[in-house]
């Protein structure tokens, strides 16, 4: 993991870090729960064939300004600012987990901005027979094994980068969790389902078969609601943060959909 460029886009006056790597057709990536404290092997794979642009959503590592966003409307407007500010209108859009729900909203509300869509275990729908696990009501230390089949993957991903104090870093990671909560608390129905029919682009839905946060049964509901041509990739032995848990296999599915 090296060779990525960094710039900043202002959203509501707050700076959001934008990382970029690779050449080819542009792919816009919105990360999942926890955000992008560091570049990931999954993004490296995508960058072998695409120009990958990964902005930090407000409040996630590399960005602030979540405290100005009170409603879903505010969040969608912020992401539109990010997409346009990063010069990515018309790019392929990949969103995972928390980023996935926003990717779906953007594709539904501003279809012209999105060429093709990839949703990796996005939030937003609610099945009362399989409600999402409560990410914010977990015993200390149990979150990694809830999010990834290999807990160490998440722990390493979220570890303090070199030169950061553990104390200050814990504020950054808590802020990321808070930003996700600000958007999605209490993980109920965001009414995205009513807007799915507005997604008319080709859409790949990726789900970890061992997702303990959102049951893979949600994949079918997304596919049913989306008007565009959908395909599904269920990745075996993979948890909620699928692209972190199984970067090669998820990248393979995504690259094939974007080829």
């Amino acid at each position: 993991m090296s060779g990525f460029a960094e710039r900043s886009v202002a959203v509501n006056g707050a700076p959001c870090r934008v990382w970029e790597k690779g050449r080819g057709s542009p792919v816009f990536y919105l990360a999942g729960f926890g955000g992008l404290p560091r570049w990931t092997p999954f993004l490296d794979r995508l960058a072998e064939r695409h120009r990958v642009v990964a902005p930090s959503l407000p409040g996630f590592p590399g960005a602030t300004g979540h405290d100005r966003l009170d409603t879903l409307f505010d969040w969608v407007a912020a992401v539109l600012d990010l997409v346009e500010g990063a010069g990515l209108a018309g790019a392929d859009l990949v969103g995972a987990s928390v980023g996935g729900t926003l990717a779906a909203e953007i594709a539904a509300l501003s279809p012209a901005l999105v060429r093709r869509l990839v949703l990796i275990a996005p939030f937003g729908l609610y099945d009362k027979k399989a409600p999402p696990a409560d990410l914010w009501a977990q015993k200390p230390g149990t979150l990694p094994s809830l999010l990834c089949v290999e807990p160490k993957t998440y722990t390493d991903h979220m570890a303090p980068p070199e030169g950061t104090s553990a104390e200050e870093w814990s504020i950054v990671t808590t802020r990321a969790s808070e930003a996700a909560a600000r958007l999605l608390w209490p993980l109920a129905d965001t009414r995205l389902e009513r807007r799915l029919h507005r997604i008319r682009c080709a859409t790949l839905i990726v789900w970890g078969a061992a997702d303990k946060v959102l049951s893979p049964s949600y994949a079918e509901r997304f596919a049913k609601g989306i008007a565009g041509k959908t395909s599904m990739a269920l990745i075996p032995a993979t948890g909620h943060l699928a692209d972190l848990d199984q970067p090669a296999r998820v990248a393979e599915a995504v690259l094939s959909a974007l080829s």
Partner: protein, 418 residues
């Protein structure tokens, strides 16, 4: 100094193996453990105890708000306060308080508290806590990332509703009301005194100083644990150029009085162990939702006492032992003279002019609670009364209507009808 009698209203019938068999006393406490016929008895006994304390001369009786909580049966303290207002005549009614962000619209709080102030003839102390994570974010589903901003806005709205004498529009970030016109408004002008129970964040202290509110620390772990918080509060007041008027502060202490220390040891061991064992058995999943603590509070490494209790629960098989409860001063027990001497020292050391005593705790019966209360009122209170009295004025106490102007409730209707 002022002495206030505080009730948490704990459910007294949690089973002996509660810690082993149940997750948490809060949020997802097993609903099957509550028997409404027991609750019927408890509410009536608990209100008896509060009324008894008022009759014995305590300056105030205090109630507070908790939700889905096995040690606090008052989701609506205002209901209890209204009933107490009718059956007491001189004691202040201290509602400590209403978690403002939970009410939609928050003018509900302005209305209900104004009603209590009117019913009681101006005896209300209005407490405005943010509320614990268990109450607000989990039991009441509030978004932890927006809770404090909502709280501050709700406070501004209630204050305006109490003090403005015309119908006005409120165009807030979270609350938008075209017509605000609180009927009734409070007897006390410009408004009832406002007290803020808080966990010890610097921002809360600064806010209390700026608004001239009383800061209350409701310590479950006694004066030794609360000392650091209160010292921090006074250091901040000094930094802000505020005087050391002890009536700026309130502090809660569990107290058990008996004729002798030996007798007190016998009487209060079981209820104390019940409280520190069963009632503080809080699942760690619910104590720290992200955003509940500000980043400044995180940097100051302030940990809430419920989070501490929960950490303790995770590392200990049982609750606090009786020895620990006594050694660390969670509960102050002894003969009236011993208790008076200790409380005098606590109040002086912490510089607290509003001392709230919790004399019914855990599964204590009404008889024992009344015994505890009576000994305190008759033999401890007189030894504490003079403290701070000469040097400081309590600017944060209710100003009721003069006695002749106050309504006298009719004697119980049955008697009147006969």
């Amino acid at each position: 100094m002022k002495l206030l009698w505080f009730h948490l209203m704990p459910y007294t019938e949690l089973p002996d193996d509660f810690r082993e068999r149940h997750n948490s006393v809060w949020v997802d406490i097993d609903s099957g453990l509550l028997d409404p016929t027991v609750a019927h008895r408890l509410y009536n006994e608990f209100m008896d105890e509060l009324e008894y304390a008022a009759a014995l001369g305590f300056d105030a009786i205090c109630v507070n708000e908790h939700h889905a909580n096995g040690y606090g049966l008052m989701p609506s303290p205002n209901l209890i306060a209204a009933a107490l207002a009718r059956r007491t005549s001189d004691a202040a009614i201290c509602v400590l308080g209403n978690s403002l962000a939970l009410y939609n619209p928050p003018t509900r709080v302005a209305e209900e508290m104004a009603m209590i102030d009117c019913i009681s003839g101006g005896r209300l102390i209005a407490g405005f806590p943010v509320g614990t994570p268990m109450d607000t974010c989990f039991a009441y589903g509030q978004n932890p990332s927006m809770l404090r901003a909502r709280y501050i806005e709700a406070h501004d709205l209630v204050l305006e509703a109490w003090t403005r004498r015309e119908t006005f529009a409120f165009n807030g970030r979270f609350n938008q009301l075209r017509y605000v016109n609180t009927w009734p408004h409070p007897v006390q002008k410009p408004r009832p005194p406002i007290w803020i129970p808080g966990g010890g964040s610097v921002e809360t202290w600064q806010w209390c100083a700026a608004m001239d509110y009383v800061y209350c620390y409701l310590s479950y772990f006694g004066y030794k644990a609360g000392r650091e918080t209160m010292m921090g509060f006074w250091r901040e007041m000094e930094r802000l150029g505020k005087d050391r008027n002890p009536y700026r502060a309130g502090f809660l202490q569990f107290v058990g009085v008996a004729q002798t220390r030996e007798e007190a040891m016998k009487l209060y061991k079981e209820p104390a162990e019940y409280f520190y064992g069963r009632c503080l058995h809080v699942d760690s999943r619910y104590v720290n939702p992200p955003g509940y603590n500000s980043e400044a509070t995180q940097r100051a490494r302030i940990t809430s006492q419920v989070a501490l209790a929960s950490q303790r629960a995770a590392t200990m098989s049982g609750g606090a032992t009786w020895d620990e409860i006594l050694a660390k001063g969670f509960v102050i027990i002894g003969s009236p003279d011993e208790v008076a001497a200790q409380l005098r020292e606590v109040a002086t050391d912490l510089n607290v002019g509003h001392l709230m005593v919790l004399q019914q705790f855990g599964n204590m019966s009404r008889d024992l609670a009344n015994h505890n209360t009576r000994l305190f009122a008759e033999q401890v209170m007189p030894q504490l009364r003079d403290l701070f009295k000469q040097e400081w004025e309590d600017r944060w106490w209710p100003k009721p209507l003069p006695k002749p102007a106050r309504a006298v409730p009719q004697a119980p209707a049955r008697e009147a009808a006969e």
